[in-house]
C-alpha cells in the first residue's frame, strides 16, 4: 500500500538495525512518548531486534492510560443518565473506572456508542434533538483539533443538546514533569510525530535547552521509529542534545496553523491530573469561556465522585518508566488484559498489556527488566 509499504521495508529496517547496533557502545534509556509508537514497536517486534543496550521506556502518551480516574467516573455517571447518548472513541469503553467500565453501563441500559470522529457525535445530536449527546473528548494535541471542530460546529449549528466531557492532555508539560522527577531515568525522547504535525516542533526547543536532553520528532511506521532511535542514539553517543525532526514528511516546524488557531479559540490551558502520575500544572486543555455552555462537566454538575484506584496497581510507576510492568506484584496475577486493574493493561498501546503479550513468550531477561 502506497505511503505505508515503503516505511515497512524489511531490508531497509535491517540496515537501520545494523546501523543502530554499530553506533551503540553503552546502555541508553530512550522513551517513546506516544502510545501509537508503543503500539508500532510491539506490533512489529522492534524492541526484540534492537541491541540489548537500548532500553525503550513506554511513555505516558497513551490517552486511554492517562485519562484520570475521576474523569472516567464522571463519564460513567453521565453515560448512565436516561436520555443521554454517550459517544466515545472505541478503546475507552473497556477502561476501568472505580467500579465499572462503559461496557457495563451499556449492558445496564446506558446508550453508549462508539464513534470514529467527534463530528459523528455532532451529527447524532442533529438527528436526535430530543436526546442529549455527550462526547468524551480525550487525547493529546492530535485528537484535539477534531474535538475543537466538533464544539465549534455545534455552536455554529446552534445545537443545545450537544456537549463534550473534555480531558485533553499536552505532551511538553509531561516531558518537563518527567525530567524534573528526581528518579528520572529517561536520557532521550522520541517525540510524538502526529502531535508535532499539529503543534509544530518549536515547543520542544526550550525543553532540549533546559534539560539538555535529545528530543527527536518521530513517526509511527517501523522505519520511522528506527530512524528516531538511530538519531537519538547518535546524539547520546556524541554527547549532543538537540531537537531533530525524523518525520519531516508529516511535521513542519510551525505545525498546522489553522488547527492551532481553532484550538486557541475553543480550548484554554488548565492544570490536569494524569492517571497514575498526578496533577501536572498547565498540562491540559479545557473548553474556553466562549464555549463554556458545551462543557459537559458543568452541564451535568457531576458531584459525588469518590475515586478509588486499585491499591495493587503500580501503573503510575510504569508510566514514568520507574518499573517495568512485570515488576508490579499484580502483573499477570490479579491484573491481566482480561481483568485489568489499571488502564495500562487495557489498551494495546498500554505498556502492561504489551508486556503481558511478550511475557508469555519471551524470557524476562530478554525483555530487559530494569535493575
Amino acid at each position: 500500500m502506497k505511503y505505508l509499504d515503503e516505511y515497512r521495508d524489511p531490508a531497509l529496517a535491517q540496515r537501520l538495525f545494523d546501523e543502530i547496533r554499530r553506533i551503540t557502545t553503552r546502555p541508553w534509556a530512550i522513551m517513546e512518548v506516544c502510545g501509537g509508537q508503543t503500539h508500532s514497536i510491539i506490533r512489529n517486534g522492534i524492541d526484540q531486534l534492537l541491541p540489548p543496550e537500548i532500553e525503550l521506556i513506554h511513555g505516558p502518551g497513551c490517552p486511554v492510560c492517562v485519562t484520570p480516574l475521576e474523569m472516567i467516573d464522571k463519564a460513567l455517571a453521565i453515560a448512565a443518565r436516561p436520555g443521554v447518548i454517550f459517544c466515545s472513541f472505541g478503546d475507552m469503553l473497556r477502561v476501568p473506572g472505580s467500579s465499572m467500565d462503559l461496557f457495563r453501563i451499556k449492558s445496564e441500559g446506558g446508550d453508549v456508542r462508539i464513534v470514529y470522529s467527534p463530528l459523528d457525535a455532532v451529527k447524532l445530536a442533529q438527528q436526535h434533538p430530543q436526546r442529549e449527546v455527550v462526547f468524551f473528548g480525550i487525547g493529546f494535541e492530535t485528537t484535539a483539533p477534531a474535538n475543537a471542530m466538533a464544539v465549534f460546529q455545534a455552536r455554529q449549528l446552534g445545537l443545545k443538546n450537544f456537549s463534550m466531557l473534555v480531558s485533553h492532555v499536552l505532551v511538553p508539560p509531561a516531558i518537563a514533569a518527567l525530567m524534573e522527577s528526581p528518579v528520572n531515568r529517561v536520557q532521550a525522547f522520541l517525540a510524538a510525530g502526529h502531535v508535532c504535525s499539529v503543534m509544530g516542533t518549536w515547543q520542544y526547543n526550550p525543553l532540549v535547552e533546559r534539560y539538555h536532553v535529545p528530543i527527536v520528532v518521530t513517526g509511527f511506521e517501523p522505519l520511522d521509529v528506527l530512524e528516531g532511535i538511530r538519531k537519538s542514539v547518535l546524539q547520546l553517543e556524541q554527547g549532543r542534545a538537540e531537537l531533530e525532526n525524523a518525520y519531516p514528511r508529516a511535521v513542519q516546524s510551525e505545525g498546522n496553523l489553522a488547527a492551532q488557531k481553532m484550538l486557541a479559540d475553543v480550548f484554554q490551558i488548565t492544570d490536569r491530573a494524569w492517571r497514575g502520575i498526578g496533577v501536572i500544572p498547565q498540562s491540559g486543555w479545557r473548553l474556553s469561556a466562549n464555549y463554556a455552555e458545551f462543557d459537559a462537566e458543568t452541564r451535568y454538575a457531576v458531584t459525588d465522585i469518590h475515586t478509588t484506584e486499585s491499591a495493587l496497581c503500580h501503573s503510575g510507576e510504569v508510566l514514568q518508566g520507574l518499573i517495568k510492568p512485570n515488576q508490579c506484584p499484580a502483573f499477570g496475577k490479579q491484573c491481566t488484559p482480561r481483568n485489568p486493574l489499571g488502564a495500562t493493561m487495557v489498551s494495546t498501546e498500554g505498556a502492561c498489556a504489551a508486556y503481558y503479550q511478550y511475557g508469555r513468550f519471551i524470557r524476562a531477561e530478554e525483555v530487559g527488566v530494569a535493575q
Partner: protein, 352 residues
Amino acid sequence: MSELFDFTGWTCPAPLRDHPAIVMGHGGGGKLSAELIEHLFLPAFRNSTNAELGDSAVIELGGMRLAYSTDSFVVRPLFFPGGNIGELAVNGTVNDIAMSGARPLYMSAGFILEEGMPLEKLALIAESMGAAARRAGVALVTGDTKVVDRGHGDGVFINTSGFGIVPDGVQIGPSRARPGDVVIVSGDIGVHGIAIMSVREGLEFGAPVVSDTAPLNGLVAAMLEETRAIHVLRDPTRGGMASTLNEIAQASGVGIAIEERKLPVPDAVRAACELLGLDPLYVANEGKLVAIVPANVAEQVLACMQRHELGKRATIIGRVTDQHAGMVVARTGIGGMRVVDMMIGEQLPRIC
C-alpha cells in the same frame, strides 16, 4: 520453565466474576465467549459429543457419522455491501457443517421478527436464503417464526441449524493439528468485517469492499477428493483468523507460527484497518477457511484449492510447531516476533 514467569492459573483468573451480566464481548467470539461456554454452558450440558467444540458436532447414528451445527445471526445493518442477513444465515451453518468435512444436506431456519419489520424486506431476505441454499445444494426443510414487540429486536434475528454426512475416512477436528503441519488460508482475510463496519452507524466510511459470504462446502468437497489426510478445517468468522488459530492451538496442544508477510489482506481492508487501528487478523470472515494439513500433502491441497473458484487466492501462511504450545505467534513484516492472542471481547477502534 523456571526462567519464565509463572503462568499457572493465568488463562482464566476470574471466570465470569467481573461481569455479573452479559456484555457485548460475550458474543464477540473471543475470550469472553469461550469463558461463557466453558464455565456456564458446558458444565450444564456436558456429554461426550460436545467435548471437542468444533464448528459442528459429529454424531454416530445408524452406522453413519452426522455433522450437526447451529448458528444465530444478529447483523446490523440487515443489508450490507455484498449480502444480507439471510444468505449469511444459510452460508454460516453450511460452512460450520462443512468444517467437519461433511456434505451438508438439510437445514432449519427460525425467525425472530420485530413488530413493524417491512414484509418487503423480509421477502428479500427469504429469497436470498432460498438462493443461497440452492447454491450450496442444501434443502431448507423446517422452520419457525416468532414476533417480538417493537424495540425488542433489530428487525429480524435468524437461527439456522443443519446436518450433513461425514464421508468415510475423513477425520477432521480442531484437536488434530500436529507439529510440522502446514497452515493454509483459502483467500483474502478481513473482508466481511470491514464491509459491515463500513456501513455501521458512527463508523461509515467509503470502502470498496463487499462481504465475502459464500458456501464453502464445494471447496471442502474438492479438497477431500484430493486427499482425506486433512487434519483441521475451520472458518474464521467472529474473532477472525487470530481467534480461530488460537482455538486450534489450544485444542491440539500445539503452537502455531504464521508469517505476517504471507497473509492475504486486500489493500482496501488494510487501509480501513490502518485508519481504524484494527488488526486484520481479528476481523471477521464469512467465506474463508483455514486448513491444517500434513506437510507432505500441503502443495497438493494448495493447488487443488487454487483451482476452485473460492480458493483462487489460497496461500500457505504458517506452520504448526511443538514450541509455545497453545499459543500463536507471528513473524512480523520486519522480522520481529509478536504473540497473536485471542481477542478479549470485541475489537475496538483505537483512538490514535
